[in-house]
């Protein structure tokens, strides 16, 4: 594999570390006014977006290999560890998503009165870590970023969260770390077997069948155990049903900006891991496990949506909808893996499924963030109430809010013309081509999603004014519209013109789909 020429300008490092630099700077400004610290945090959080747009401008969509590569030896004597960053279509999409969601989440948290500076610092740290996960190409620092992202998230949930935040935060962190511990073990074994931790090299080795042979040489249960370890770490993060029980409480108890970031960006880290690590490095093992995994993904889709229907806490409801939506991504990936090696021509369907997965990641990031933002507004207006029955007739008094929230809801339930449809359609189209039965079952998830989202809108916005909306309830102020507006605008743009995203990921998805084979 030819080594790509090193980038003259460390754009990717800059993307990762610019929020951290902002956090460091913010940490030095003791005693500044809250508005100043908020503004500073917002400005710094926009850095990755700006740099991401620079990267988008310079990005060559025709190339499959990572671009802007930075590769330097980090710990060569003891370990074959490289500082290896690269940006391909998948990473670019997620970097842009992070760049969009973070400032928006900060805007949505504008009213955080409790230590706003620390809030901003933690957020910037979180953003940098997430970006690091999306850009790293070596397991070592990929894992560092992966784990580092937990720390600020933990404090965000614990310190700024709702009444049960402490428990939720502990559960979130311990559960996730528990998963990652298995992943670390898995990679340690992999390193022992292959001597490298570089994703691209590992993928190449896997494609050549070397990994399978070397793991088999370890003997015993090792080949399976390594796969299961890595799988567990990722499955908890996404989360794949039934590893999702931490999610509703964590999302529900996190502060509004935290929920937005957790669902908008951090849940994508897991799916990204599946696409970047598990699938390329363990194609055979994944293929072998897919019948079971497909069932789990379907359970996530259908049961996730049904569980959402049962929730009376709006945040938990939206959180379950995340379980449902992310399961679509995994369903598509598993279906592709399931069909790998089959004789029938599946490339077109696989392309659609994988494109759909990536688009769904981006779209879900937008719409779920918007939904959490809306629920956050309701929560802040009502002094912490977020029950399904605490509101009623909000649309009467707040038409703008109703419109923005409604658009987000319909985007989430996959209404054509908004962004959600494109990804879901592609996933369904792909999955149907690969495994028609799974697609048919998944349809029930679509229906259930529609039911509970419409119930949400009906109970909160329609009907006579009730609950909090019966009293003083003004329509959105400028600062409340500010986070929603960019998201909604993007929903429309991507719904009508998906080529914006599709153009970035086409080459990489095509190349994936063209090399569907087992070693």
């Amino acid at each position: 594999m030819p080594v790509a020429p090193a980038a003259a300008f460390p754009l990717l490092s800059l993307i990762i570390f610019s929020p951290w630099a902002g956090a460091a700077l913010l940490a030095m400004f003791r005693g500044v006014a809250p508005s100043v610290s908020r503004t500073l945090a917002l400005i710094f959080s926009c850095g990755p977006l700006a740099l991401g747009l620079v990267a988008l401008n310079a990005f060559d969509p025709g190339r499959v290999a990572p671009q802007f590569v930075e590769d330097s030896i980090w710990m060569s004597r003891l370990l074959n560890v490289h500082y290896h960053l690269g940006l391909d279509g998948l990473s670019l999409v997620l970097v842009l998503l992070t760049g969009i969601v973070t400032p928006v989440a900060l805007l949505a948290s504008w009213r955080v009165t409790h230590y706003p500076r620390a809030f901003g610092i933690l957020f910037l740290l979180l953003e940098g870590a997430a970006l690091g996960v999306f850009l790293a190409l070596d397991f070592f620092h990929w894992f560092l970023f992966w784990e580092l992202s937990l720390v600020p998230a933990f404090f965000l949930i614990k310190l700024w969260g709702g009444p049960a935040a402490s428990r939720a935060a502990y559960q979130f962190v311990i559960y996730t770390i528990g998963g990652s511990a298995f992943m670390l073990l898995g990679f340690a074994a992999l390193y022992v077997a292959t001597g490298t931790l570089d994703f691209t090299q590992l993928a190449q080795l896997a494609a050549d069948g070397v990994i399978g042979a070397k793991l088999a040489a370890l003997g015993g249960i090792w080949p399976k155990a390594v796969f299961v370890g890595v799988f567990l770490g990722l499955a908890v993060k996404v989360p794949l049903w039934p590893f999702h029980t931490w999610l509703p409480s964590a999302y529900a108890e996190a502060p509004v900006g935290g929920s937005m970031f957790l669902t908008g960006v951090m849940s994508k880290m897991g799916v990204y891991g599946f696409l970047r690590i598990l699938w390329p490095i363990f194609p055979a093992q994944l293929h072998a496990a897919t019948p079971c995994l497909l069932a789990l993904a379907l359970a996530g889709i259908v049961l996730g949506a049904y569980a959402a229907m049962k929730q009376t806490d709006l945040k938990r409801m939206v959180a379950y909808s995340s379980v449902n939506h992310l399961s679509y991504c995994l369903l598509a990936l598993f279906a592709v893996s399931y069909a790998t090696g089959r004789t029938a021509p599946t490339a077109a369907a696989a392309t659609a499924a994988l494109s759909g997965t990536i688009m769904q990641m981006f779209n879900h990031g937008l719409s779920a963030a918007a939904l959490f933002c809306c629920v956050g507004i309701l929560e802040s207006r009502s002094g912490g109430k977020r029950g399904l029955n605490d509101f009623g007739g909000v649309r009467t008094v707040a038409p703008i809010f109703a419109a923005l929230c409604g658009i987000s809801l319909f985007s989430s339930l996959g209404l054509p013309g908004l962004n959600g449809f494109v990804g879901e359609f592609l996933i369904f189209r792909g999955v149907f081509g690969l495994d028609a039965g799974a697609a048919t079952i998944a349809c029930f998830g679509l229906l259930a999603t529609a039911i509970f989202l419409l119930t949400f809108w009906q109970r909160v916005f329609h009907g006579p004014r009730a609950g909090v909306a019966a009293g003083e309830f003004a329509d959105l102020s400028g600062i409340e519209i500010a986070p929603l507006l960019p998201l909604v605008v993007l929903m429309f743009i991507l719904g009508v013109w998906p080529q914006l995203l599709a153009g970035l990921i086409n080459p990489i998805v095509s190349s994936w789909a063209a090399h569907l084979s087992l070693p």
Partner: protein, 675 residues
Amino acid sequence: MGLSVQNLWLIPLLPLVAAAIGALTPRTGRTLAAGAAILAMSFSFLLSCGALVTALANPATHATSNFAWFDLGMGALRLGWLLDPLTAFMCVMVTFVGTLIFIFSTGYMHEDANAKQFFCFLSLFASAMLGVIVANSLLLLFVSWELVGLASYLLIGFWFHKPEAAGAAKKAFITTRIGDLGLLLGMLWLYDSTGSLLFYDGGHGVLEAGALSALTAHTALGGFALSTIIGLLIFCGAVGKSGQFPLHVWLPDAMEGPTPVSALIHAATMVAAGVFLIARVYPLMSADQALAHVPFHALTVVAFIGAITALMGALIAVAQNDIKRILAFSTVSQLGYMMLAIGVGSWVAAIFHLLTHAFFKALLFLGAGSVIHAAHHEQDIRSLGGLRSHMKVTFATFAIGMMALAGVPFLFSGFWSKEGILHAAHEWDVSRVPLLFGLAAVVLTAFYMTRLVAETFFGKARSHASEHAHESPASMTLPLVVLAVCAIALGFLGTPAFPWLQAKLLGETEVLGHSLLAGSGLMMLSVVLVALGLGTGWAIYGRVTREKSTSPDPLAARFPGVIAFLGARMKFDELYAATVFKLNAATATFADVLDRFVWDGAVRFLARLGEFAGVVNREADEDGLNAGFDAGSESLRGTGKAYSRAQTGDAHGYLRIIAIGFVVLVLIMMLGGNR
């Protein structure tokens, strides 16, 4: 003066622009929103007329204009526009009726605070509906189809502060979405097996011979041809949207919306979209007709569903008391007719009935709206009565609409279109059931419409509201008059003597007339049946009019059980509540319990296990390991203390030592070594 297919997108775009304008104007800008909507719709109508001219010039061709929506790595997802007589006629109908209803709405919604939103939603609906019509791709059709559903949702729930309206909106959306999932699956299957979703694409489209033969050649589940399965899945969508049995339950509830909405969406256009869809994919639906070895054909299902719906709708309508509910079930019934027509192989008759029905049903709904508007939102026919003298124009036009719907012979459009359907059913050789059902529905239609008119307009006023009712403003009556004229005139486009419309739809260049006497037996029968219905209705309700709003219905007095069952809409809602809803709720509870107890319990058990290990570990640590570390730390601290004595804190001293050190070093260098 024609409009080429390349510019066809203008037709849906104009209302969309109007909707955008409506969305962005402030609440007070209702005049702007309404003006933009009407203007856009009128221009769309003119453009549609242009399209019609173009289409009629070459009725046999399917002119298309396709483009790529977005690239998908391997190939692109393509959408397109299609212009053929079907599209053109539908466009003209929708834009024309739409314009009239928009104008009517300016009067009807005059007092509503949210009128600008109303026009925004109406425009959005019109745009989406036109999108359905002009789409040359099942995907684009589906997109527009869902947007139609959204607009319908918004409009039904327009008075969202009423819980019933909000619930009805949700019910409509979810029910139609059930059908849409079938459509989605059918679409996916179609895409997967043909690699395209374009209807016509120069020989590569899914409705063209190549794809169809491939589809019929494949056998899927249960010995059916692939085309049958796909066709039936697509038909699911139509069932949901067009209120066919068993998904018709949402349509009567949808009458919670403002009446113009009912007229536009739930009578004239949207519900017809299902019929249109099946007519559009008719080549696919009928592809399996030539196959002999299949259990049954797709169209057979369509015909039976249509027939059941036609009869069921008419039956339920007999026992309803709400003026809009009666019309709603009448719509269900008429849509059943249309489906029946397609099912028996005559999609042209279905479209003819669709067009005529659109006009006279819109007329009826707008007339009902006029009545409701005048009677201060009193909708119960038992409380109305005697409006004939107060509202002359409304009465006259409503009567025309009623006669068109009832199929009063020769003069009214409904007669001719219904006749076509019955004729087609008569010629169908698979089963006689649809024909019999259809004929039964003819009687019932005439009966319940007579009842409606008699109760509403004749007799004496039975409530305060109907006593003081007065004629609606010109903006409302003018559309009524125009529609009434159409309800009469339109029938002559497709009489058997000169079936111009049918010929154009089928793409024939010459119009071959038949003798009116060719099928005269059936026609005579239906005339007699209509007369029977009218007569019975008049005998029961018109001869002796109701005294008070509370006095019992003569029919209900005679057959209390039957009427009660029909009045409760054959208990479909209760049936669904007992089965589907229960199942749904049970699944939700199951999912929730699974999460809360099983999976979370497992996690907690693991956590407890970890905690226990921690306790054990702590005990071991404190007693065993820590003691040694403490000692080591102490000795390290002693060393540090010793070194720290060098820190005297005397800066001069440091400086002095540096200076002296420097001197010593230099001296060593100078004296000590040659090197």
